[in-house]
Symmetry: C2
Subunit: 206 residues, 2 copies
């Protein structure tokens, strides 16, 4: 059943869960599909179809129960189970800009790495910073599962291969390199250029 949710629907549900988390704090109980449409721009048909993939009875006459819906998305996509430990690899301008980023409840940065000892000594962070040589030990000792990769593009594949070898299960790739890491790790690309290209290609289509 889980296999039948398409990638775009999965991405919308992940965003919807984040939206519901914001709204939950406003102490409201329900939200309708047209309210979600106003907040996201997705059609209410799309929203209802996405939610129909979930195993939940969160739909009432007053709309969807916000907490039930959020929990159902988490359960279906398996994204609520405990805190996952992450590290930042590469502490240049971009990597160090992520040091103070708010990672929410589900993810915790427990280490940063850079090939320059100078860099790891100069920067301050709420978690320890190490030279790259200590990656293997720290990842194993801390049980780090996810890595945020912000090294220069030309060394990205080498570092990614090492990270996968050290047991990292997922890499968020901020570099311009296209990474191949075998089947044990998952790569999610965060590419500014690709985002610009997607916008350009969608405009060209219209």
């Amino acid at each position: 059943m889980k296999q039948t949710i398409s990638k775009p629907a999965r991405e919308r549900l992940i965003q919807l869960a984040r939206l519901l988390e914001h709204i939950e704090n406003d102490s409201r109980q329900f939200i309708t599909s047209s309210e979600i449409q106003n907040l996201t721009g997705w059609s209410s048909y799309t929203i209802r179809r996405d939610i129909s993939h979930l195993k939940t009875e969160c739909s009432t006459k007053a709309g969807y129960d916000i907490v039930l819906l959020k929990n159902a998305i988490g359960a279906e996509l398996g994204i609520t189970e405990g805190v996952k430990k992450c590290c930042i690899v590469g502490l240049g301008k971009l990597g160090s800009a992520l040091i103070d980023f708010d990672f929410g409840k589900s993810y915790k940065i427990v280490a940063g790495f850079d090939s320059s000892v100078n860099r790891t000594e100069i920067l301050t962070a709420p978690f320890p910073l190490y030279p790259t040589g200590q990656m293997q030990n720290v990842i194993k000792q801390e049980g780090i599962e996810l890595a945020i990769l912000a090294v220069p593009g030309k060394v990205a594949q080498d570092v990614a291969t090492k990270l996968a070898g050290f047991g990292i299960k997922g890499i968020v790739n901020y570099t311009s390199a296209i990474l191949s890491v075998g089947e044990d790790a998952i790569v999610e690309n965060i590419s500014l250029i690709d985002a610009l290209q997607k916008i350009a290609s969608l405009h060209a289509k219209n």
Copy 2:
């Protein structure tokens, strides 16, 4: 015909075009689907199917002709037509980390904006920086089409609505806000949390 390319296939083709651009510089003429498989991790079946969407005769016994394939992707997705002007909105840690980013041949940053005049005066950039109040004028005068949004999450929707009103056609959203900007502008989300969630949900599925 263009409508039939699925979103995941479109994203792979965009990445493939970027990969081919790198390889083109190595003065090779051909690449096979299994070489692409090794470089990307996508199955060669998927690669051949994606490429079959293109109107091109780039396939030979020696593999795909790299330049023809790259141009065919550009033509199909409409991403090769001239240089598009962009601006960075919000020059905090993340926005200012993007100032020196290599935007390649198709995109050019021509302006940066921040609500703090202090910030726009302290930072140095290869393009002019303006206080937010000048956004409308600069966007119109320069003919800026795309905006990279890196403002604090709580003002993101307001700023996005303004940008769409000023004629911006596409927004790359680095904020944690989920934006709704009507049908005239396209939003591409670059969310670190969403990327982590996608990895977690894909691991949960297996």
